[in-house]
């Protein structure tokens, strides 16, 4: 089931080094790139159907075409490597295993959108990773792939790594821009969207690491070769991170559209310790949970996820075995989002705090049925009433747990004990 497009060099020793990367094809698309018109490049990426791999799934080429023409202002590219959504760990592999693929992607994107300055926003926790990335950028400068004349062509490109410092919210496009500008990461109201007014008030494109890293393949092999993978509406491949209660957790590159349960069984070795499956989180902690019977008909693409009232998200699949205490899990999630609220909007700053307190109360056995209803009501009253979607990233999954596992919350109220299965051991 696995394919090797983005991960083609991941198993090669020293694949982060320019010499090795070049031996395996890095920077070979640049001659073709500079022989094309920028508009043709955008068209090719549009045709590939590549969708933003940060979580929202917006078509990358379409995003680029929102840039206003001839504003007289510089155009900026910000590469989003904040990767902080729990269960997401894919971009890290690109930074460490194949940074030159990303740099090549940056060159392709910059040429297409007419940008000469890129900022790669890397989450602060990626300390060792950022060193590998910076070393690759330094090598690319020395070899003339970055700087005044990219690969000898009349095109300047500077790439700067900007380190975050521990704020999940900075993965949100406009919070990321605020952070580069030196402020606390509080998202901006939209419109204007960054394509019109972004970094330093200039037109800005923000793309996820994996989206950018997908570009060399599309340039090299063409849009049709990319579309040969995946489904009609969700073309291409994705780096899926599978974690939680499976035998073989890890990162796997797969075409989109595969059945999620088959992937869990065949690729990740199935539920660990011979236990039963309780639920699946399909695309990062903010995506609504799927029961086994729902997961049975779900495939790993944007459309199937939407049909099942959840989201493709970041491709971070979490498998929950039968012993998981859902109320404790919900507490863990609310703690995360409450901790990461930037504090700008009252419904999020205060509301997530209330949700945390109510869940604590239920867990202590001090809750009532009305508290469960209140928790559910809070979800509806917080969601979409804030500048960004951080609060929804908490309320959407919590609502799904309340609706699908309400009996577990009620057990705390009626019997003051968790309703969790004993492990079926092998």
């Amino acid at each position: 089931m696995e394919v090797k497009i983005l991960s083609a060099k991941f198993d090669i020793k020293n694949s982060n080094k320019l010499k090795t990367a070049k031996k395996h094809g890095a920077y070979q698309t640049l001659e073709k790139l500079f022989s094309m018109e920028p508009a043709e490049v955008i068209e090719e990426v549009k045709n590939s159907g590549l969708r933003g791999r940060g979580g929202a799934g917006f078509p990358a080429g379409v995003k680029w075409s929102f840039l206003p023409k001839d504003t007289g202002k510089p155009v900026y590219l910000a590469v989003n490597s904040d990767e902080s959504e729990p269960a997401t760990f894919k971009d890290r592999y690109i930074l460490v295993k194949d940074p030159h693929m990303m740099i090549e992607g940056i060159i392709i994107c910059s040429y297409a959108i007419g940008s000469h300055d890129t900022y790669i926003y890397v989450r602060g926790e990626y300390t060792t990773q950022v060193k590998v990335l910076q070393a690759a950028i330094d090598e690319a400068y020395k070899a003339g792939y970055l700087g005044e004349k990219v690969a000898g062509h009349d095109f300047r490109l500077d790439v700067t790594v900007h380190r975050g410092a521990g704020a999940y919210v900075c993965g949100e496009e406009t919070a990321l821009l605020e952070s580069i500008e030196g402020r606390k990461g509080q998202p901006r109201s939209k419109p204007p969207f960054p394509a019109v007014s972004g970094l330093y008030g200039c037109p800005t494109i923000i793309n996820n690491v994996q989206s950018i890293a997908s570009l060399p393949f599309i340039m090299q092999e063409g849009a049709d070769a990319y579309k040969a993978y995946g489904t009609e509406k969700s073309p291409g491949t994705h780096l899926f991170g599978i974690s939680g209660h499976v035998e073989k957790p890890g990162l796997y590159e797969l075409p989109l559209g595969l059945p999620i349960l088959e992937v869990i069984d065949k690729v990740a070795g199935g539920v660990w310790k011979g236990r039963k499956l309780k639920a699946v989180i399909p695309g990062g902690s903010s995506t609504p949970v799927l029961l086994p019977e729902e997961a049975a008909t779900t495939t790993l693409d944007y459309e199937s996820m939407a049909e099942h009232k959840t989201m493709f998200g970041s491709g971070g699949i979490v498998v929950l075995d039968e012993t998981v205490n859902i109320v404790e899990l919900v507490q863990n999630l609310i703690n995360f989002y409450h901790h990461e609220s930037c504090g700008q909007c009252t419904p999020c700053r205060e509301g997530l705090g209330w949700m945390k307190k109510i869940t604590q109360k239920i867990l202590k056995g001090e809750g009532s049925m009305a508290d469960i209803d209140l928790l559910r009501e809070l979800c509806d009253n917080i969601e979409m009433k804030t500048v960004c979607v951080l609060s929804a990233a908490c309320t959407m999954p919590v609502r799904s747990y309340l609706d699908k596992f309400r009996h577990e919350f009620e057990a705390y109220v009626t019997a003051n004990e968790p309703l969790v299965a004993e492990a079926t051991e092998e």
């Binding site: 990767e83 902080s84 959504e85 729990p86 269960a87 997401t88 760990f89 890290r92 300055d117 989450r123 602060g124 926790e125 990626y126 300390t127 060792t128 500077d158 700067t160 900007h162 380190r163 975050g164 410092a165 521990g166 704020a167 999940y168 952070s179 580069i180 500008e181 030196g182 402020r183 606390k184 990461g185 330093y200 991170g241 599978i242 974690s243 939680g244 209660h245 957790p249 890890g250 990162l251 989180i281 902690s285 971070g316 979490v318 929950l320 998981v324 899990l329 863990n332 999630l333 703690n335 995360f336 409450h338 901790h339 990461e340 609220s341 930037c342 504090g343 700053r349």
Partner: protein, 168 residues
């Protein structure tokens, strides 16, 4: 949301050493505004001193040509900036979803019972400090522990025990 607001004064003036000074100047050329240097300057400070003092905030503000309150805003908002000295070995245990599912609590319990540190505190000899942090992006190799920036994956109590023994 963070409740970090107190700065500590060392009573000594702060400045970048030669290496950080050069790195500051190199990076400053990459941004069209000076204020974009606030986060990088805080990182350089922390690399040099291990934490960010009141004097460092004033120095950065001067160096950038902005108000100290703007540097303070960033230093207190972003949780990775240490606003007080940490242990010689600063241990971060990931507490979020996948690490929680795969046994991070056993690690935290071990550190409490056998090493004598609880989250937010240090050992008396200043050797270890501990923090429970949110998702570190290593969910496929959970649970994960980060010590002074280095990641240790697929951790368990036995592995942690032998690791800590090597950290003198």
């Amino acid at each position: 949301m963070s409740d970090r607001s107190q700065l500590i004064s060392t009573g000594e003036p702060f400045q970048f050493d030669k290496k950080r000074d050069a790195e500051f100047e190199r990076l400053a050329k990459r941004y069209p505004t000076r204020e974009s240097m606030i986060l990088p300057a805080l990182w350089l400070t922390q690399e040099q001193e291990g934490w960010v003092s009141q004097e460092a905030i004033a120095y950065i503000a001067d160096r950038i040509g902005t108000f100290a309150s703007k540097v303070y805003e960033a230093a207190t908002f972003y949780t990775m900036y240490n606003l007080h000295p940490m242990g010689k070995y600063h241990i971060c245990v990931c507490r979020t979803l996948s690490c929680w599912l795969r046994g991070k609590q056993e690690i935290v319990d071990y550190l409490r019972d056998e090493v004598g540190i609880t989250p937010g505190n240090q050992t008396e000899d200043g050797r270890f400090s501990l923090e429970e942090v949110e998702c570190l992006g290593h969910c496929g190799t959970a649970p994960v522990v980060q010590i002074n920036g280095e990641f240790y994956e697929n951790m368990d109590v036995e592995k942690l025990k032998s690791l800590l023994a090597t950290l003198k």
